[in-house]
């Protein structure tokens, strides 16, 4: 009798424990993410929103409402940074994506020897990061650096100040950025190309389609999702550009050619005016989100039209 009662009690405890576990375990499982999300994303986001309506000086602060936003949006220097950033973003999309796709098409050819070696070689620069690339290009593009020395073999009196001439500084950033990112894009495009159904090419071949038609009507639709992804990440990456020009020029660069939106933001951090820096950050975030949404919609519409 007593044994049966004991078993019933134990059974009850076990059931209650099981019920509690079933009830609370999901919260426990998601708690690491929630804690990290709140500490490192949500709190900084809300804090920066709070800061964007304040003015700071050392430990002092005061509420200024929308003054920081109004100043940023009226500041010529901010719009110069926007023009620079948009220019770089367009240049990246214009040169990097075709270059990455071109390399991927070359490496995807059936007779390429040492594909893995090339793949690693092109991708390797992406592993070292923007700061390292900026330092390397700073040396390569200096007045007496390897690039100018090489060009002088053909044109002895040539003097290109890649780093200090405001007109050459922008191509220098694009060049360095291409070296950094083309391999990254190439890897994605290569994977996408290899997943395109080979039978489609055979069918197109039978139908008499040339190489260009095959590329236009088979390859491009086949790699469309990756192309969309590359355009989207390229745009966002371009809008967030900072370290590369900042390290390459050791500041905003000649004629503020390296002054991107994030560099403008950072300049306010350096001054200690964190409110204006936060307001700039929110303007940038709004622009990035708007562009991302617009791009996704445009591309989805394009895909629907093609279907």
């Amino acid at each position: 009798m007593s044994t049966a009662t004991g078993e019933r009690q134990q059974d009850g405890i076990r059931r209650r424990l099981w019920a509690a576990q079933a009830k609370y375990a999901p919260y426990l499982f998601v708690s690491p993410f929630v804690v990290l999300f709140c500490a490192f994303l949500l709190y900084p986001l809300l804090r920066s929103l709070y800061m964007s309506v304040h003015q700071y000086a050392g430990s002092q602060s005061r509420v200024v409402a929308g003054r920081n936003f109004a100043f940023v949006l009226r500041d010529e220097t901010f719009w110069l940074s926007v023009a620079n950033t948009v220019g770089y973003t367009f240049a990246f999309l214009l040169f990097q994506i075709p270059a990455a796709l071109g390399l991927a098409l070359l490496l995807n050819g059936p007779r390429v020897v040492g594909r893995n070696l090339f793949r690693f070689a092109f991708f390797a620069p992406h592993l070292v990061g923007q700061v390292f690339v900026a330092v390397i290009f700073g040396l390569m593009l200096s007045r007496n650096g390897p690039l100018n020395s090489l060009l002088r073999v053909v044109w002895p009196s040539l003097e290109i100040n890649w780093i200090s001439d405001p007109w050459m500084a922008r191509p220098a950033v694009v060049l360095a950025s291409m070296w950094l990112s083309v391999g990254f894009g190439m890897i994605y495009f290569l994977a996408a190309l290899q997943s395109v159904d080979k039978e489609l090419y055979e069918a197109a071949d039978v139908d008499g389609a040339g190489k260009w038609s095959q590329f236009r009507h088979v390859t491009l639709p086949g790699i469309r999702p990756v192309l969309m992804f590359m355009i989207l990440t390229g745009t966002i990456g371009g809008l967030q550009l900072f370290e590369l020009p900042y390290v390459l020029f050791n500041g905003p660069g000649p004629g503020a050619a390296g002054l991107t939106i994030v560099a403008y933001l950072f300049a306010w951090v350096e001054i200690g005016e964190l409110g204006t820096a936060s307001a700039t950050g929110w303007v940038l975030a709004t622009v990035v989100i708007a562009i991302a949404i617009a791009q996704v919609r445009i591309m989805r519409r394009g895909a629907r039209d093609e279907e």
Binding site: A57, G58, R143, G272
Partner: protein, 464 residues
């Protein structure tokens, strides 16, 4: 008993627990020195913290003389400024805050934004008076580290600027460059030398280094003329007549018609000394005292050929020198024992021993004239052809113009660079046709720059 998540997770968990325990047992404040000093310059840190030969280091000297422990830490420039800004902003005191800090002129503006009584740095006027340093430190150098007349930093250096030039090459062209009293003389002499070099098979030879994409050189020339882009009281001086005149002259010297063009932008970093000078691409350059050593170290090919001379005179300024760069040492407002911090500063920056350590191998002089070792002043310097370089450094250091720093100094420099680049582009474009509009163009770009800068200064101003 088997661990149900597997051995890798078990090993990682053990490692995490061990690391946590180790971290807890070796907390940072355990055994922390009574004075903690943050330095960003490795050269300066070595002078303070490392022994020279068999002697004691300056830190050890402080410890011996006071009986208190001290620790000088070398911290990366940006990391230190980020950390310090956060600490000042949150008013975090010990144990996070150091007791003595080095700050560089390019970074100090941000700390000068709050009202004087709210700044993270401690006012040093009382300590200066109490310990009898008033009047012994160069006034014009203290101005850099002051706000509203209150001193927040002790200058570590003076950094007078002079012109270093390849005397052998100028002499070969029949020019004694040191005889240039005014900037007009200097330009005329450079033009003459350049014409000689170019007529003798050196089409790429240029006389004078002038930066074309950043405002460093022109700001140095403006300081010599007594112009700070943002003055002590926050006045923007980009539209001053002197600024305009200097910009016009600068454009003509760097991009003007052949008859008066003497400038060229050089390679960045040490390449200017190791490549451009030996190849005759450039033959004279502005050199602050700290740059004299770099020139000697990297431009060894020109040993014996180089000389230094004071900057040529402007008609409306008494100065034969300017200043470039600089650092201060200060005490945080919430430091544990300001008296002890001051004693540390006296030992490591204001003592004969510290001046002697700094004089070894560099040309940098402290901002306290009584510490200048006059016995070394007239010693011939072999690299500079036996010239008594230190004598010139001492003479010019005593006469540097004041330089003021504000939170928007860095923005002012960017705006000046933009104005300069636009003015240079105009000069380049019109030099073969008609440059009569140059002055108006310069005026217009300076007004634009001043307008932008004024708006930023007004926006960044924080008054209680």
């Amino acid at each position: 008993m088997p661990f149900h998540l597997g051995k890798p997770i078990l090993v990682m968990s053990i490692l995490a627990v061990a690391a946590g325990i180790t971290g807890a047992l070796t907390r940072r404040d355990r055994g922390r020195a009574e004075i903690e000093h943050w330095a960003f310059s490795e050269q300066n840190w070595r002078l303070i913290a490392q022994r020279s030969g068999t002697g004691e280091s300056l830190v050890e000297r402080f410890e011996r003389e006071t009986g208190h422990s001290a620790d000088s830490k070398l911290i990366q420039y940006r990391a230190m400024n980020t950390r310090l800004s956060s600490l000042f902003q949150s008013r975090t005191g010990w144990p996070e805050l150091p007791d003595v800090i080095d700050l560089e002129v390019g970074s100090v503006g941000r700390y000068f934004r709050p009202p004087v009584d709210e700044m993270g740095l401690m006012p040093l006027d009382d300590l200066i008076d109490k310990h009898g340093w008033r009047g012994r430190i160069l006034e014009n150098r203290l101005a850099t580290w002051s706000k509203d007349g209150v001193i927040f930093g002790i200058p570590q250096d003076v950094h007078p600027v002079m012109i270093a030039y390849n005397d052998a090459r100028f002499r070969a062209a029949g020019v004694d460059l040191a005889s240039s009293e005014t900037w007009d003389d200097f330009v005329a002499n450079c033009v003459k030398a350049q014409a000689y070099w170019r007529a003798n098979g050196e089409p790429r030879a240029n006389a004078f280094e002038m930066w074309e994409s950043s405002a460093g050189t022109i700001i140095t020339m403006l300081l010599q003329r007594g112009v700070n882009l943002v003055d002590q009281d926050g006045t923007v001086r980009l539209t001053d007549e002197k600024t305009l005149d200097t910009l016009v002259r600068y454009c003509l010297m760097l991009e003007g018609p052949e008859a008066g063009r003497i400038g060229v932008s050089t390679s960045p970093g040490s390449d200017a000394f190791s490549q451009d000078l030996p190849h005759g691409y450039v033959n004279a350059m502005l050199c602050a005292d700290w740059r004299l050593r770099y020139l000697r170290d990297y431009g060894s090919a020109m040993a014996g050929q180089m000389r230094v001379m004071p900057m040529p005179r402007w008609p409306d300024s008494p100065y034969r020198t300017s200043t470039f760069g600089g650092s201060m040492v200060g005490i945080p407002r919430d430091a544990r024992d300001p008296e002890l911090s001051w004693r540390y500063i006296e030992t490591t920056y204001l003592s004969q021993a510290s001046a002697k350590a700094r004089a070894e191998g560099t040309y940098v002089v402290p901002a306290v004239p009584e510490l200048w070792d006059q016995s070394t002043a007239d010693v011939p310097d072999p690299y500079y052809g036996g010239q008594a370089v230190r004598r010139m450094v001492f003479d010019l250091a005593a006469d540097v113009p004041p330089r003021y720093v504000s939170p928007t100094s860095s923005v002012a420099e960017v705006e000046m660079s933009r104005a300069l680049i636009s003015a240079l582009a105009y000069t380049r474009e019109h030099r073969d046709t008609d440059l009569s509009g140059l002055r108006e163009h310069c005026k217009s770009v300076l007004e634009g720059a001043a307008g932008r800068l004024r708006r930023q200064v007004d926006h960044a101003r924080f008054d209680k």
